[in-house]
């Protein structure tokens, strides 16, 4: 029992630090209980919610959106839902109670996100989706996504070309519950299945994870020593696969998807051969620009809800012009 004060102190300290953190993230909003404070009529807050910035892709999204919003004179609140729809829903509550002017969202689930976005809409807060779509229209103001099917087509074509249109290959799939994993795989196969001499001998999910891709690729290479190529559903898995290829001292074509800086520099060294760049920064900026127009026009937009932005193939030829999920001059 004599430890109780110590425990209480610890609790107080942790509670205080959580509050301090929240205050930092809030951009210095002085009010302790934002829910009750009467916000000014024209809010200048844009809330940006994305998956974990662990993945450089989402980090680029956050940074690009926040930078553009701040340059347009908005306050920003950047949050990460870690692919947890419940957490995302709570963050929407925060945005609503803070009376945000707009929400920029890379969502945590095509179905699971709809009610939260609807709740924001009912509170007159427009949501602009980036990167991932939801399975309902008319709820969000815009859904700006990169064209994964088109991008996977590009990746598939380049992969087939690098393979000389023949030989055994393996495919590393993304997290099975993520729509993009399926769309990309379908896009790859839309091209690859047309070549009768290209034979897929193994197909495994590595859950978007680098270490898992490494171990699974090692095992796959063990089972199929004649593999000439590995096509991965994203760049972190491509990096893991390439580490396994390097360890096995084999000459195998590895192709990824995303256009992350690590893979781009690997392509410059002629290690990984190609990736498909999703214009993440551009999409995030577009969403902020459209939100700005929407806010200033008093709730009107001249853009269609569904907007699809083409991906760009990155190979050794153009890798030098790629920086932070954007190709210069495009």
């Amino acid at each position: 029992m004599k430890h109780l004060p110590a425990r209480r102190a610890l609790l107080a300290v942790s509670a205080a630090s959580v509050l301090a953190l929240a205050a930092c993230g809030g951009g210095g909003d002085g009010s302790g209980s934002p829910g009750e404070s009467a916000a000014p009529a024209a809010s200048k807050l844009i809330v940006i919610i994305t998956p974990s910035p662990d993945n450089v892709f989402f980090k680029a999204e956050q940074d690009a959106a926040a930078a553009r919003a701040e340059s347009l004179g908005y306050e920003t609140l950047v949050l990460s839902h870690d692919d947890d729809p419940t957490k995302q829903s709570q963050q929407f509550d925060t945005a609503i109670s803070r009376k945000a002017a707009a929400i920029i969202l890379d969502n945590a689930g095509a179905d699971a996100s709809v009610t939260a976005i609807q709740r924001a809409k009912d509170a007159d807060i427009p949501t602009f989706l980036i990167d991932r779509e939801i399975n309902k229209t008319g709820v969000a103001v815009a859904q700006i996504v990169s064209n994964n099917a088109q991008g996977a087509g590009l990746g598939g074509q380049e992969f087939a070309k690098l393979m000389g249109n023949k030989g055994e290959y393996a495919e590393l799939l993304g997290k099975p519950t993520d729509t993009n994993a399926g769309v990309r795989s379908k896009g790859y196969h839309g091209v690859l299945d047309q070549f009768p001499d290209l034979k897929m001998v193994a197909q495994q999910s590595a859950n978007w994870d680098q270490a898992e891709a490494l171990q699974k690729t090692q095992t796959i290479l063990q089972a199929h020593p004649n593999i000439k190529g590995i096509i991965a559903g994203n760049d972190t898995m491509a990096l893991g696969a390439y580490a396994a290829v390097q360890a096995a001292k084999k000459d195998i074509v590895v192709v990824g998807f995303d256009g992350s800086p690590d893979v781009v520099s690997s392509i410059q060294k002629k290690a990984i051969r190609a990736t498909v760049l999703q214009p993440a920064s551009k999409i995030a900026q577009m969403a902020v620009d459209q939100a700005d127009v929407y806010i200033k026009a008093g709730g009107k937009t001249d853009q269609p809800e569904k907007q699809s932005i083409d991906c760009v193939l990155v190979t050794a030829d153009n890798a030098d012009t790629v920086k932070n999920f954007a190709v210069e001059g495009s």
Binding site: L10, Q204, A243, Q246
Partner: protein, 360 residues
């Protein structure tokens, strides 16, 4: 459950009693089979997979699978120390990730002082990484012994804290290239994860050394006896003069250090450090310990059992990938094997207490 053995808490877990006049031979045989179940399962796995794929039982695949086992085995050995005292360590995956980021940062960016940047040798980086893991373990131990936080809660909290710290370390980013440069004198990080000595991967040698050391510590030293005593009956351990808190802190330090070592091996092989390294690996480690016959209540289990458990999990997962089973079925099969293992664990308990009653 163990209160009948209060008189000799330290010896309950290990060898069966030598005096065994006329217990039923059948039950003894059954017990032996159940005791050796991990080995039995392993043999069955090898037979099944090698009959499906001719690649399974090749020398190179066995070496590869053992290398994959090494990381989980080292994590699981550390966790076993904790479980033997009746505790649990849920933070090992996150500690592995944190150690990975600490080492990655030191290799990639060096240590920044106001006066300039210092780069450490690889040996030093490894040492710092392991010490970092041990320190996190020490915090776990202090939380549990001094502040009386339940082990499950303390290490669950640390799971988040250490993972967050790993993410903060690089602001969420990846340290992409850990090869080092001659000028900085920090080349050679790939040695422990990617190289081989005498045809066996260095990671496997490290696992062998860690396992051997752990076996000696748990079975041949007074400290090992105290670990079993604390887990078998903490009250009795206190009364017999064991400094229970010291033992507990020590096992969390060991667990943290093992976790860090595993994280460093993984990072070395990958040649890159990212904050999500080893996410959910704590569950694989606990599963290996339980599969190997370690009782979650504490006081019973062996290091060799845990290593065998890690082999079963590793040989099973790699086998399923090798023969091309889908990810979903891989999860189902792995889970089923763990549940069956626990069921046989309880059968072992019953048989054992049956026999003990008869011989007593």
């Amino acid at each position: 459950m163990t209160n009948t053995d209060v008189a000799a808490p330290a010896s309950t877990a290990a060898a069966p009693r030598p005096e065994e006049p006329r217990s039923t031979a059948l039950k003894r045989a059954a017990l032996l089979l159940v005791r050796g179940r991990t080995l039995v399962v392993l043999v069955i796995l090898v037979i099944i997979f090698s009959s499906i794929s001719s690649e399974y039982l090749t020398q190179s695949n066995l070496i590869l699978m053992t290398k994959h086992v090494a990381i989980n085995a080292i994590l699981a050995i550390g966790v076993t120390f904790v479980i033997l005292t009746g505790g649990i360590d849920l933070s090992v995956g996150s500690i592995a990730g944190l150690a990975s980021m600490v080492a990655g940062g030191l290799l990639f960016n060096g240590l920044n002082f106001p006066g300039g940047t210092v780069f450490f040798s690889v040996a030093m980086v490894l040492l710092i990484g392991i010490v970092a893991g041990a320190l996190v373990g020490a915090v776990n131990g202090l939380l549990i012994t001094r502040l009386k936080v339940a082990p499950f809660i303390a290490t669950l909290g640390m799971l988040y804290v250490a993972r967050g710290a790993a993410q903060l370390h690089s602001d969420g980013g990846t340290y992409p290239d850990l090869a080092g440069t001659e000028a900085r004198g920090n080349t050679g990080f790939g040695f422990i994860g990617a190289d081989s000595v005498l045809g066996i991967p260095v990671a496997v040698w490290i696992m062998v050394v860690v396992a051997a050391a752990a076996i000696v510590v748990t079975t041949k030293t007074p400290f090992g006896k105290r670990i079993y005593a604390v887990g078998g009956n903490e009250r009795a351990a206190v009364l017999s003069g064991i400094r229970v808190n010291r033992v507990k802190i020590a096992v969390y330090v060991i667990s943290g250090a093992c976790a860090a070592l595993a994280g460093l091996l993984l990072t070395s092989e990958l040649g890159a450090a990212y904050p999500d390294t080893a996410t959910t690996y704590e569950l694989n480690a606990i599963a290996a310990a339980v599969l190997g016959g370690t009782a979650l209540a504490g006081g019973r289990g062996t290091i060799i059992g845990t290593v065998m458990g890690a082999f079963v999990i590793g040989f099973l997962s790699d086998g399923l990938v090798l023969v091309g089973v889908s990810t979903f079925w891989q999860s189902v099969v792995k889970g089923a094997v763990i549940i069956v293992a626990v069921i046989t664990e309880q059968a072992q308990q019953r048989l054992q207490s049956d026999l003990t009653r008869r011989t007593a």
